[in-house]
Amino acid sequence: MTNKNTDSSGDVRLSGISKTYDNGFTAVQPLDLTVPQGSFFALLGASGCGKTTTLRMIAGLEEPTTGTVHLGDQEVTRLPPYKRPVNTVFQSYALFPHLDIFENVAFGLRRRGIKSVKKQVEDMLELVQLGEQARKKPHQLSGGQQQRVAVARALINTPKVLLLDEPLGALDLKLRRQMQLELKRIQTEVGITFVHVTHDQEEAMTMADTVAVMNAGRVEQLGSPTDLYENPNTTFVANFLGTSNLIEAEVDSRSGGEIVLKAGGGKLVLPEARYAGPTTTGGKVLVGVRPEKISLTHADEAGEIPEGRNRITGTIADSSFIGVSTQYVIDSPVCPEFEVYAQNIDRDDRLVPGAEVVLHWNPAHTFGLDADQDIDAGIQEEATV
C-alpha cells in the first residue's frame, strides 16, 4: 500500500447538497465542498451542527434533499451505501459482535465475492498491529484495539474515501492522543482520502490538513488549522477554536495600511489586511486577540512597555497556575473578562488578583471581525464539549 496516485479519482465533490428531515428540521444547508484526493479533511463542529449528516450523505446512509455527491468523476448521489467505493469507521465502531476480528475485517471482501481473503486480512491486521487477536470476539478487545479493528475493516477494501465518524470519541484522553498519531501515520502510508468528523478542535487541528468548521448546518470557515486559528472570519470560529478576546471598538481613522480604533478610553491599532469589513469612520468593529499573544506588565512598570504596542489597562480578577503557563482573567473597562496566558519563564510575584496591570501586544496579532455578529457565538458549544 503506497501513495499510488495524485489524480482526482479520490476527490469528493459535494454540490449544493442539503438535508431536510421529514419533521422539517434542516440539518445541512445547501453547501458546496471539494475534498481533494489524498488529503486528511476534518469536519469540525458541536453536536447537531450537521457534520455527521454531511458525512452520512457521502457514505450513502442518508439521502440528500438537494444537490449531488461526486467521487472523482462518478456521480454517486443515488447509489446505495453498498455500491459506493467509500467506507466508514463508525462512531463506537459498530463491530459485528457475533463475528471474530478476522471475520469482521474480511466482511467487506467476502461481500464483494473475493474468495481468498486470508493473506489480505492478515496483512491488514498486521498494519494495525492486531495480528495476535484475529480469533477473538470484539468484546474481548480494549477500546483502542476495537478502534483499530474498525479502521482495518474499512481500509482493507481500499476505498476511494475513508469516512471517520467521531472515531476517537469513546477513548480516554491519553489513548486518543496516541490514536491521533496512529491514524495520521496510516493515512500517510495508504494515501487514501480521509474525511474525519469530530467535535474536538484539538483533534481536528492535530490530524487534518484542512478543517471545515461547521455551525448550524453551514460551513463557517475552511482552511488549514493555522489559518483558521490565526485568521478567524467569524466570531463563531474565533471562539470555537481556542479562546479569543473580543473587544467592541469604533473606527477612528485609517492610515498606511492600519486602522486606528477607539475602545473605552484608549486606542488600538489593527492591520487593514486582517479586517475585511467596512471601515467608515465611526463604524463598529470587533477587535480580537488570542490570549497567548498578550504580555502582562504590572502597572508600576507601565513606562517600560515599548512604543507602538496595543495597550489596555485592567485589574487581575483571577489567576490559575497550570504548570507551563499561568492563566489570568483581567477585569478591564473594554472587556469584563479578558484572558491572558503567560508562559512561566520569569514569574512576577506581584501579579496576583487585585493587582493593577497593563496588557499589551503587537498590533500585527490583532484581527478584526464584523461587529454585526453575536460576540459570544461558539462559546457555549465549546464549554459543553
Binding site: 453498498y82 463508525f90 463506537s92 459485528f96 466482511f107 467487506g108
Partner: protein, 266 residues
Amino acid sequence: MTFVNWLKRHLVVIAGLITLGYLLLPNVVVTVFSFNKPKGRFNYQWQQFSLDAWKDPCGVADMCGSLSISLQIAFWATIGATVLGTMIAFALVRYRFRARGAVNSLIFLPMAMPEVVMAASLLTLFLNMGAQLGFWTILIAHIMFCLSFVVTAVKARVMSMDPRLEQAAQDLYAGPLQTFLRVTLPIAAPGIAAGALLAFALSFDDFIITNFNAGSTVTFPMFVWGSAQRGTPVQINVIGTTMFLVAVLLVLVSMVIGNRRNRQKA
C-alpha cells in the same frame, strides 16, 4: 437470642425456600408416583413400587398418539408464530408507520385476555364459518395466542441492537438481503430463539383454548384432562417426569456450553 437473630437475618431466605418447595412439591409427587402400582383406575394413592409404567410408556391406548399430535401442533405453531411475530417485531422497532398504537394494542390484548374468553369467541367464529374443528383449528388458535409472546421477546432483543451495525454492513458492500442474513438475523437470534421456545412451551401445554376448538382431536393435555375423569394411568407421570428431566438437562447443557465458551474467550 442468637437463634432469633439468625432467624431474623435469614428470614427472606427461609421464606423463599419454602416457596420454592411449594413450587417443586408437585413435581416430586409426579416423579414418585411414576413408580407406583395403583390398585384402582386412579393413581392418587401410593401402593407399591413398580417399574411397569417406565418399561411400557406407550402402554395406554391413545396416549402416545395424543403426545405426537401435541408435538406436531407445537412444532408448526412455533414456526408460524415465530415467523409472523419476528416480522411484526422488526416492523415495530425499525420502521415508522401509521396506526402504531393500534398495532401495539392488538399485540398486547391477547396477553391480557383470559384464555377462556379467547377460546369461546374463537369457537363462535369457527362455528359461524362452519369450519371443521380439529388439527387445523387448534393450530390456528395456537399461532394466534403465541404470536404476542414472540413479538415481545424479539422486540426486546431488536430494540437493544445498534442500528449502526446494519449501516456498517451496508457500508461494507452487503446488500439489503445480505445485511439481513449476515448481521441482523444472527444478532437477533437469541431473542427469536427465546420467543420460539416460549411459543413451543405455551402451545404444547395449552389446554383451555385447545379444549374449545379441538373437535374430536385429542392433544396430550386433553388426554390428561380426560383421564382425570376416566382414570389416570401411571404413564402420564412417566411422560411428565421425562419432560421435566429433559428440560432441566437441556438447560444445564446449554449453561455448561455457555460457560465453556466464556472461559475460552477470557
